[in-house]
């Protein structure tokens, strides 16, 4: 158990270092930060001082190491575009993105998994075929288009729900939440649905195909031959075996939600990190891009770690050493 976690943690650190390297390369070699920060008029002396302050005169690996140390402390320098510390910018926008992603993830899971189970078990029913057809439309709808259509219907035509922003938020320490005010909650509805819909259809289709796969296995046939009730077979045996692949896929989907938050936030002008990132890409604001990359990678690594631990809880084959239990 401990060895397993340590191995996973080491892998996570390696991935983070690799991403850090990409981010650092961006930072150090893409564009000329000195020229950008100095603007039009500068003296040679000012330039030299800035180069020294930024540590740009030092060897590559020293710079990389310094970058990692600073990144670990949450320091990513100053935004070229907004001339403010990148960490402040991200921190301000983190709650908005996380609250949106959480709502979308819950929606996608709580609706997608049951629908997948239903269509897997009743593969030939009319409702299943309908859901499957609709889901293909769902997979074919780009996230931004879903957002636009929802805005068109619910904001422009019906005028029921707001089309942009977070509504009124309440500050809890440094965290600002939209969960506590009616306008904040109303503002969450359309973006959450937009963000969840694509993932929801994917999760449903994947759970369904895993379910079908498991229902074809010998142990399910054998369970039928033992005369177990359908309930016990479907929900006891099949569903539990479906869980293992579904957990992986869901983990990946959660990552997808964080990435597609960029699109949703742009459509709804949601003041989150994704919106900030897009603005930074358009303005070539490298420090923000690099920091966002590292932060996202951190979330991904975290999700993967949780997924691995969940595996461990579900699948006994990982828990017990085959040899130790004795053979023939």
């Amino acid at each position: 158990m401990v060895a397993f976690i340590i191995r996973r943690l080491l892998q996570a650190v390696l991935v983070m270092m690799a991403v850090g390297f990409v981010a650092f390369s961006l930072f150090a070699y893409v564009g000329d930060p000195v020229a950008i920060m100095l603007g039009q008029d500068f003296t040679e002396e000012a330039r030299m001082r800035l180069v020294r302050d930024l540590g740009l005169d030092q060897p590559f690996f020293v710079q990389y190491f310094n970058f990692l140390v600073k990144a670990a402390q949450g320091e990513f320098g100053i935004s070229y575009r907004l001339a403010r510390p990148v960490s402040d910018l991200l921190m301000e926008r983190l709650p908005a993105t996380l609250e949106l992603s959480l709502c979308a993830a819950l929606l996608a899971l709580l609706v997608g998994v049951p629908m997948g189970v239903y269509t897997g078990l009743n593969r030939d029913s009319f409702l299943s075929r309908l859901m499957l057809t609709v889901s293909l439309v769902g997979v074919s709808l780009p996230t931004f288009l879903i957002g636009i259509l929802l805005i068109l219907v619910f904001s422009v035509l019906l005028g029921w729900l707001p089309s942009f922003g977070r509504g009124t938020t309440v500050a809890l320490g440094w965290w600002t939440t939209g969960f506590l005010t009616p306008t904040g909650l109303r503002a969450l509805i359309l973006p959450s649905i937009t963000l969840a819909l694509f993932q929801l259809t994917l999760i449903m289709r994947l759970v369904r195909s895993e379910m079908l796969e498991v229902l074809r296995t010998d142990y399910i046939k054998f369970a039928r031959a033992r005369g177990l009730s359908n309930r016990a077979i479907n929900f006891g045996h099949a569903l539990k075996n479906t869980l293992v692949p579904v957990i992986t896929i869901t983990g990946l989907q959660l990552g997808g939600i964080i990435a597609f938050a960029i699109v949703t936030e742009t459509v709804f002008q949601w003041p989150g990190m994704g919106f900030l990132f897009i603005q930074s890409v358009s303005a070539a604001d490298v420090p923000v891009m690099a920091a966002y990359l590292i932060l996202i990678a951190f979330f991904f690594v975290l999700i993967n770690l949780v997924v691995d631990l969940l595996y461990y809880a579900v699948d006994p084959r990982l828990r017990v050493d085959r040899g130790a239990a004795g053979g023939h």
């Binding site: 010998d218 031959a225 033992r226 005369g227 006891g236 085959r322 053979g327 023939h328």
Partner: protein
């Protein structure tokens, strides 16, 4: 043993199993009849594709769609079971008819302990408390020869070796003390050394519990060792059925003769191993008349025209025109 009772435990009458495909209907099991007496071991032997596994699946009511029973009857204790609704048949499976599948590695759910799989089966069919079921499960594991069952019951399938897993599978089939077990190639996936142990185990358990067994296999050696009677299947039909001694030592159907010739015997070793020319026809191209006629060395006129029905010869029934006196006489 109760071989004198005149009503068979299981009767299969004119069973026909079909697979509809886009190129027409394939008849995988064609009009076969046999019966199993209480406590009897019936071996069913044949090449793969002969329809023997499908016959087993039809009996436990688990033919995989689109396969279906298209005709005939299956009776358990004189009651038809082939047309029962799913829920009624489910109560018979595991309780009256147990099943053992080919591959013990895939027959057990990897995510549950063997104890949980045993107790859930016991509780499904028998009116017991949890602790009684667990005690029975330990007893069953002991019965099938698993050492230290009190400890092993809480282990997961992957912690058992292949042979041990097949013992667990057999224990699962015995959970509710069924009167018939359909065992589909129970030893094929195992090492040769383990095969003998499993065969001995099945024989012993049947004797002790008075359980009848339908043993489906392609291995004539296993049949010779275990079965009381044997049915030889070819291209979806029964070629010959009779007491195991008669069929093995005095095979009547030319196909059975060829099949016997392919097992090397100790003692009077033949000069060469007899071999049957050609291969079993595919279901899409079963020849007219006797399905075996293109490969048969004793073929004569009626074989290519009419399909032979089983003809009693001594204790055996043989589906071969050689034993029809009028046809034979007409030909000579």
């Amino acid at each position: 043993m109760d071989k004198l009772s005149n009503r068979p435990l299981l009767e299969v009458k004119n069973l026909r199993v079909e697979f509809p495909t886009r190129r027409g209907t394939l008849v995988a099991v064609d009009d076969i009849s046999f019966s199993i007496q209480p406590g009897e071991v019936l071996g069913v032997v044949g090449e793969s594709g002969a329809g023997k596994s499908l016959t087993g699946a039809a009996i436990i009511g688990l033919l995989e769609p689109p396969g279906r029973v298209a005709g005939g009857e299956i009776l358990l204790d004189g009651q038809r079971i082939d047309n029962l609704p799913y829920e009624k048949m489910r109560r018979i499976r595991g309780k009256e008819i147990g099943a053992v599948f080919q591959d013990p590695l895939t027959s057990l759910n990897p995510l549950y302990t063997v104890g949980r799989q045993l107790t859930e089966t016991i509780l499904t069919h028998l009116d017991m408390s949890e602790s009684e079921a667990r005690a029975r499960a330990i007893g069953l594991l002991q019965d099938v020869g698993i050492p230290a069952p009190e400890r092993r019951i809480d282990h997961y399938p992957h912690q058992f070796s292949g042979g041990m897993r097949q013992r667990v599978v057999i224990a699962l089939a015995l959970c509710a003390n069924p009167r018939l077990i359909v065992a589909d190639e129970p030893t094929t996936a195992l090492d040769v050394s383990i095969q003998a142990q499993i065969i001995t185990l099945i024989k012993r358990l049947c004797r002790e519990h008075g359980t009848a067994v339908m043993l489906v296999t392609h291995d004539m050696g296993v049949i010779a060792e275990t079965a009381d009677r044997v049915a030889v299947m070819y291209a979806g039909r029964i070629a010959e059925i009779g007491p195991v001694r008669d069929v093995i030592q005095r095979a009547k159907h030319p196909y059975t003769e060829g099949l016997m010739g392919s097992i090397p015997k100790l003692g009077n070793a033949p000069a060469r191993l007899a071999q049957i020319d050609g291969a079993m026809p595919r279901l899409t191209a079963i020849p007219k008349g006797c399905a075996f006629n293109p490969r048969c060395t004793k073929r004569f006129t009626p074989c290519t025209q009419l399909r032979p029905d089983p003809i009693p010869v001594g204790a055996t029934d043989v589906a071969c025109w050689l034993y029809d006196q009028t046809k034979k006489a007409a030909a000579e």
